[in-house]
Every structure is written in C-alpha cells, then in structure tokens.
Symmetry: C2
Subunit: 414 residues, 2 copies
C-alpha cells in the first residue's frame, strides 16, 4: 500500500535541504537550493532529448552514466547555463568542486541543475557564496524541503512537492520497514513531452542499486513527465534525478521482485503527481486539461494521440474560452500521425455524474450546451476518446492557452 505523506525532498530519512537568496537574477526571493544525503546514494536520471543541452545536463548525465553515485544536488533559478559552451562547463566544474570541498564529498558526486534564461553565464561568485550559505542552513525538516521547492521556481505560481510511504521487507529479515520517497519539481513554460519537464528531484531512503533505479526511472517517466505539455517546447535543461540512500533499512530491492513493483508504483505516484501539478501550473494556465485515450491498438499510439490533443493550440484556446468546440479535438487526433477510422471513434467530455458524448458514428453529436459549459467551467477538464481498435490506454495532461501565457513569454527576459 502506498500512502501519501507530508513533505517533499526531506521526507525520506537522511536527506537534508537548504535554500538561499543568492541574487543570481531575481531580487527579494530565494533562488538557490541544495539537497544533501547523510549516506552515499545510488542515482538514476533522465534528461532532455534536445540536441542543445545545457551544461548542467551534460554534467549530471556523466554522473548518472559513469559515476552512478551522488551525495548532493545544487540548483539555481534565473539563469539556465545553456548555450554557454566551454565556459558553462567550467562553471559547472567550479560549482561542483566548491560544493564538494564545502560538504567534504567528491566533486563528481555533486549533481547540478539550472533553470532560467538561455545564454548568460552564471555569476560564479554568487553561486559559491550561495553554496557556503546553504551548507550552514541544511536541515532535515519538512519545511526545509518545502523552502527548497520554492527556491527553484521561475514562472511557476505554486511550488510543487509530493511524498509517499510504503513498506518493504527489512534487510535483517525481520518483518517490514517503512520506506519513504518524496520529490519536488519546477516548470511551467518550455514544457513538452520528451523527457521531460524541467527540473524534478526525488529522494528516497530505499535501498536499490543504480541499474535497477535507472530502469525504474526510465520506465516511469514515459507515462508521467513525458505525458504533459504546456507549450510544445522541449527545453535544453529538462532533468529528472532520483537519489536513493538506503537508510530505510529494507532488503535491497531485487529485479523482478514484488518489492521492485512496489517501489516502481511509489515512484510512479510521485512522478505523476508532480507532472500533473506542472501541467496545471502551466504558464498563464487557468485550467488543467486531461485527455484519456482508450481502445487504441498500441500503447505508443494511445500516448501519441493523447499528447497531440493536449498540445493543440486550438484545443488549448478553446478550453480557455470554455467553448465546447469538439471538432478541434477531433482535428488534433487526426493529425497526430496515427491511423484510425473516424467513422467509429467516440469522443466524450467527462462530467461528474455523466459523460457528454461529443462525437460518434462519424458525426459531431448534439449535446446540452449548458451542461457542457458547466463542466468546462471547472478547474479540471477531462476528455476521453475511445479509438475502438484495441485495449491500450494512455492519459496526457496539459493546460489552456491564455492571454497571460503570451504576456509572460512576450517579455520573459526583463
């Protein structure tokens, strides 16, 4: 049983967090966060598929692929350290070396994350001053985790964290122990499926080796972070990292075991929660949109169809306008690149009590406009399309397109 608990990155045993106002770009708010584990961690991660990768992405990928261990994470908001060439990599190295010395851990076990404007170089003096400040402030309180989740925000309007607890067989063979897994994420613009969605950091006290952890992360990301879209832009910095320090005292999770399934389910729960929170907090968004595709012939087709709908500018503008212009959903399914028979599919607006049929038998259906308006007025709007081709399903999440999205992105640098 996976149960929801309070907190985020400090919910698991042995993880501390801190943040500070380093003055990197923003004024009068925190803009750096640090995570630290009392014990060595295995690490798994997935990164942006963008050919243009930010320096911290290159840095972290090296650690995940080759070092396979980590003790700390240092994140800044305001500047992305992307498109910064060799200088950007040197700044990563300096930050990690400074942090390693400060925390008495190897520099190549310091993960880095940056988010913000592409192009400028990080002010290294402020970064190292921030690291020094945060070292003093590290705390395992839930509040410290929450404060860290606030410090990494850019255009986010709310901080995003989530944690769960579950039980696994104990390492000493005597019954079960409670294991914790929690995380934080940020991201509301430049978000689009394709691994993944800005910065997300998850910590757990579960004992699990690096290879198995990586497998779980790669599996889970497909139907969580990779199924949300805010604006179709896959960023240069997208990063999801999971650190596992083993302090829960469980018997190390074995491949193919029930314990692995439980761990993966817990990871899925937290990743989906963080992903949906990001979709709902899309830049300027007033609605969370959910698109369920059922009856697809393959899982991948179901995902592609669902993502096409939540990515459509016309559908997004229609959600903003609370307009039941269902032809746009149909249109977005039609150009997804997946073949289907428009004469047999069925499209529904999901209501609290009863679903409203928008389209079947090849025709847009007459429906109660007042009821549609009532449903579309809610904060969360859900659609379901049955492709009538098989039994595969997928769900994608997005948000509406609003004046505020344009406003936020028309003048982001200033």
């Amino acid at each position: 049983m996976i149960k929801s608990i309070a907190g985020g990155v400090t919910a698991a045993a042995g993880f501390k967090a801190a943040c500070c106002a380093a003055g990197i770009k923003y004024r009068g708010r925190t803009d750096m966060a640090m995570l630290f584990s009392d014990a060595p961690c295995t690490v798994g991660g997935v990164f942006t598929s963008n050919v243009v990768k930010a320096a911290p992405v290159v840095w972290d990928r090296e650690i995940v692929r080759n070092v396979k261990a980590a003790r700390a994470v240092v994140v800044n908001a305001g500047i992305a350290n992307a498109a910064t060439g060799e200088t950007g990599m040197a700044l990563c190295r300096q930050t990690a070396e400074f942090t390693g010395k400060a925390l008495d851990i190897p520099a190549d076990q310091v993960l880095l994350g940056s988010t913000g404007v592409i192009g400028p170089n990080l002010p290294i003096d402020r970064i190292t001053a921030g690291v020094a400040m945060m070292k003093q402030a590290l705390s395992d309180s839930l509040e410290a985790g929450t404060a860290a989740s606030r410090a990494i925000m850019t255009t986010d309007t709310v901080n995003k964290e989530c944690a769960v607890a579950f039980t696994l067989p104990a390492a000493d063979g005597k019954g079960e122990v409670e294991v914790h897994l929690g995380g934080m994420s940020k991201g509301s613009g430049m978000i689009h499926p394709n691994m993944c969605t800005m910065l997300a950091y998850i910590t757990t006290d579960c004992a699990i080796d690096a290879a198995l952890l990586q497998q779980a992360v790669s599996d889970v990301v497909t139907d969580t972070f990779n199924m949300i879209s805010v604006d179709g832009d896959t960023s240069t910095n997208d990063t999801l990292l999971v650190l596992a320090n083993g302090l829960a005292g469980n018997a190390p999770v074995a491949a193919g075991s029930a314990a692995y399934d439980t761990f993966k389910a817990a990871l899925f729960t937290v990743c989906r929660d963080l992903a949906v929170k990001m979709a709902g907090d899309g830049e300027g968004a007033t609605h969370l949109m959910e698109m369920q595709v059922t009856g697809a012939d393959t899982k991948e087709h179901a995902r592609t169809l669902a993502r096409s709908v939540v990515g459509s500018s016309l559908v997004k503008a229609m959600i903003y306008g609370k307009d039941a212009n269902c032809g746009r959903i149909l249109c977005a399914l039609g150009y997804a690149g997946v073949d289907f028979d428009p004469a047999v599919i069925e499209l529904y607006l999901i209501g609290r009590d009863k679903d409203l049929c928008f389209y079947k038998d090849g025709c847009v259906q007459a429906f109660d406009e007042d009821r549609a308006l009532a449903i579309l007025t809610e904060k969360e709007v859900r659609f379901r399309c049955d492709m009538k081709m098989g039994s595969e399903e997928a769900t994608a999440w997005g948000c509406d397109l609003t004046y505020d999205y344009v406003k936020i992105n028309g003048d982001y640098r200033s």
Copy 2:
C-alpha cells in the same frame, strides 16, 4: 521571365468568378465563391494529411485522382462540412449536382471547398440558392476574382491573391504566347505544414496535362504551403487545387522541358506569395517571421529545422514581445529531431544593412540590444541559421503569438 501582374483567379484567360452573401453563418458579408472555366480544365491538387478529412476534401480528391478534369469550383465559408459523416458526403453530392445542372457541366467536374466550424451540416437550401445567384454573376473581370477571394475569408483580416505572366512556345510553332497563372487563398488559423494551408485555388490558361500538372503541384507545395505555420494545427479541410484550361495557346508543356521548368517556377512564385501572405495574416499576428536554414546536410533536415522554429510558441511569443531572446530559437532547433553540433552552428537576426550574430562558437553572443529591438520592431522579422553541415537550404514562415490569437480562438464558435 516571370512577371507579376494584377489580379488573382480571373487573371488567366477563360476563367470567371462570382460570389454572394448566402447567409450560411456570417451576416452582412459574402460567404460563397464560384469559379468557372469556359473550357475544360486539367486539375492537380494536394489535400490535408489529417486522418479526419472533411467531406469536400474526400469529394475533390476523387476528382483529382480519377476524373482528372474540372470546370468549376464552389466554396463556402462559415461551416467546414467536417465530422459530418455520410450526411456531409450527401451534401457534397447535392451541391455538385445542383451546380452541374446550373452550369451545364458534369457534376463530377465540380470541385467543392468548405471552411469554418467543424461539426454542423451545411444548410443545403442556402448553398443551392447561393449557386443560383452566383451563376448569374459570373464575370471574368479582375474585380470578380478579388471579390471571390474576399468571400472565402473566415478569421483572415485581408484577402489574398496573386498572379503572374510568363511566355511559352506557341502551339502553332510561331514564336511565343503569354501564359497567365493566378490564385487566391484563405487561412489564418489551424495552419501548419503538412499539406497545407486552408483553401487555395489557382487557375492558369496554360496547356498542361493532368499528370504533369499534378507533379508540379506536389513538387511546389513542399517548399511553399508546407513551410508555413500559424499554430501547429493541421486542419481537416486543407486543399490546394490548380485548374489549367489551355486557352493561352501554348504548345502543351512536356515533361522535362524548359517550358515545364518555367511553368513550375511560375506556380512556385504564386504559391509562395499566397503562403507567405497567409503566414503574415495568422490569427492575431502582428509580425511575419521568416526562418532561413542554410548549410544543412539534407533538404529535409533544413525544412524540419526551419519549421520547428516558426512553430515554437516561445519563439512566437518572443517575436510579439520584440524580445531578442535568441536562446529560444536555439532550443527550437534542438528539439526539431535533427542531429547537429551546437558548438559550430551560427544564428543571425537579419538586418536591413547588417546581420546581427546571436550565437556562435557554442555561445550566445553579446549584441547591440537597441539594434536588435529596431529590427524586431519591423513588421517582417527574419532569422538565419547556418548549420555548417552541408549546402542544403530551406525557409519557413510563421507569425507571432499574440493576445488576439487567444481571443479569436477562445471564442470562435460564437
């Protein structure tokens, strides 16, 4: 030599046009157009790649593929006749049969086009009344062509037409004759590369057989209509049709001849002009954006990269905000799905006198912000990226993302 001439669909010999206010959805404006050729025409066409195809698309495709001849086109604005099932096809048949009888031509030589909201059925009584009115009003004047280009507008703010003249060897072997080719198009929302862009109708008095005409149309569309994007949504109705009646008196164009090259260049000129006009008149747009990709390894990669940039919501919002946030262009190139080396590419903002280098040697460059703002304040904004991989080039056109796009599409049905 291809020279620009006045007019649009009636610029070529033997083509007449008419329009009327049929009251299909709009009030107080014309909303139907008709084209008629005095002589039989060969016909070429390309249609939407959307799986959900509007009834008139299915109807026209059958004529282009199998009948290979046409005499008239009937278009309505306001209702798309899409997602209308068998009823929609029956309405096409009725419209074509009525028109065929009225004009004394075969029903299967009447091409149809519809644009507007998806779902509702066409009011057939108003359509036939419109056809009867337009039959009386057919005229070969340039004004009649212009009026037709206005009648097919939906959210377009300006009508779009273009015509050229060129010379080809005469049929009687005595010197050369002047040949004319002109067209009209509409479209400003639900526009995205993938054949193509709403409704475009081109007429020519050139003598060219159907197979060769189709080849020219398919070739030309790739670097014209398929290279523009307004909002990433490929419509259910996209249609480009070219009718050739041979009345110019040229020797029929032969495959592989210089005459074919000339004809194709003329078709390219008109298609590009109409396509760029559509991009610049994107819903709510205040800027036309042009993205040139040079030095690509393959033509297809050049196209994909250029389209990715003009399709990016973040780039589009940045153009609206006149913000030289060039990292977003880099980011959009990076997620296009084409591999390249970010360390060697060079990105420029194209100025009247001198180009501004945004990015090279793997780094965003320092640039004169005032000059960038001056360039970005112009109505037409151009970027160029040299991929440094080869010699292939492509250009894509789009527009900015504005409050008005959201406004127009948040409440389109009412």
